[in-house]
Amino acid sequence: MHEIEIKNLSKSFIDKDTKVDALRDINLTVDKGDIFGIIGMSGAGKSTLIRCLNYLEKPTGGQVIVEGKELGQLNEKELRVKRQDIAMIFQHFNLLQQKNVIDNIIFPLTLQGIKKKVAREKAFELLSKVGLEDKAKSYPSQLSGGQQQRVAIARALAADPKILLCDEATSALDPQTTASILSLLKDINKEYGITIVLITHQMSVVKAICNKVAVLEEGQLVESGRLEEVNLPEDKFFWLNKENELKNKEFAKNNYGKEVRNYVG
């Protein structure tokens, strides 16, 4: 059984009179223990795709099957329970600003009604796992981006998920921090056996940690398979750093005839 199976998935948005097909006929399988990278340019539909994996976006067609359960068949309550197995981290971390680090990590546990004392023990454990033992009482606004993402990872792990979805998790971070977060993700994958699905526009991320990769272009999968087997279109995806950012924007504009609006994001 595949950990995640995506069959004929499509998603379109209807905005007034115009219909936009964000995803078209996506077929994909992710196996247990994979670190699966989905790479694509801004506007390719990556974010929509990853949000379909926990049904934050409801697909307009096709199926998403997670551990043998088709998400579309679940009712609201079953879906909420299922989501506890599918953790997610975000580009902008999305921590609760009014809660300190430890309370942020406890948060998913309190949602499940777990006793605060038990939750706190676990939270401190996870906090040391991500290397922020001394920041327990700090508030997110007092932390750097990398630290906030570590807290977000600790929070994601609190509910013992089977899958971790990473939505551009390193896109707002500098290259050094990116590297350290990626190595943390790799550790987690190894240590807890958590399947990771990440979306990114950074080729470096895919190359650094993924064992499988899929390439998304304008809502369609153009390549998918093991990292070493897939013919990655090197010229289309970029290292993200200050020196080549502008050049790449120009490049994208010239080669694809459209502005890359949200290049960093």
């Binding site: 909420r80 609760l96 600003q97 009014q98 809660k99 998913p108 606004s141």
Partner: protein
């Protein structure tokens, strides 16, 4: 002029004003807070969009806010009598004050809750939070600074409206200012009451802002 009866009247006025403002604002939130939450979640990008419910709440809040307070005071007399047993006096003033304040409060709550970062709400959803958990554990908690700041504003506004309480014998400083300062040309009483109102307003304002600042952990 500054005999004991006058001084007593002013002291009672202070008590009346504080009592009316605080109790009315409190009950204003008892009704306005749920209404604001419902407005937020039933709106088209809310947690559970419901066009009909949103339209009804929206229209209700707009209608009540359009009615001049003095008219509301009179219109609500039978209702007031039903609720507090009499249609005159300080407690009777609280009923129309609450009804007048609740829609304003609902709107302010709505705007506070809509300030909460969508990403945080999305994160909670991804963790499997129910809508009720999102409202109580995310929206209201994350928006608390803004909610408290707005509560301070609501309290100040209710304080202002309570000046019209004299119509139904509600008393309070505002009523004294109107009747002695305006009707009877007793400038000294008017000045004293107005200064007291300003002081009360400042105390409310500073306390509210202090609490809001203490509780805020976002920069």
């Amino acid at each position: 002029m500054w005999d004991s009866a006058t001084i007593n009247m002013i002291l009672e006025g202070i008590v009346g004003t504080v009592y009316m403002s605080i109790v009315s604002t409190f009950f204003g939130y008892v009704f306005g807070l749920p209404m604001g939450v419902l407005l937020t979640i039933s709106d088209k990008n809310g947690l559970r969009p419901n066009r009909a419910l949103y339209k009804i709440l929206d229209a209700t809040s707009n209608v009540v806010r359009s009615i001049p307070f003095v008219i509301l005071l009179i219109l609500l007399i039978p209702f007031t009598r039903l609720v507090v047993g009499k249609s005159y006096g300080t407690s009777a003033t609280i009923v129309p004050l609450v009804i007048c304040a609740a829609p304003y409060i609902a709107r302010m709550v709505e705007s506070s809750l809509k300030e909460v970062d969508d990403g945080v709400v999305e994160a909670a959803k991804a963790m499997g939070a129910s809508n009720i958990q999102i409202v109580f554990k995310v929206l209201l908690v994350e928006a608390r600074t803004s909610l408290i700041t707005n509560a301070t504003i609501a309290l100040g506004t209710v304080l202002g409206y309570s000046a019209m309480a004299g119509t139904v014998g509600g008393g309070g400083l505002g009523d004294i200012a109107v009747r002695y300062g305006y009707y009877r040309y007793q400038a000294d009483i008017m000045i004293v009451t107005v200064v007291l109102l300003i002081v009360l307003f400042q105390i409310f304002q500073n306390t509210g802002m202090f609490i809001a600042r203490k509780l805020n952990h976002k920069i």
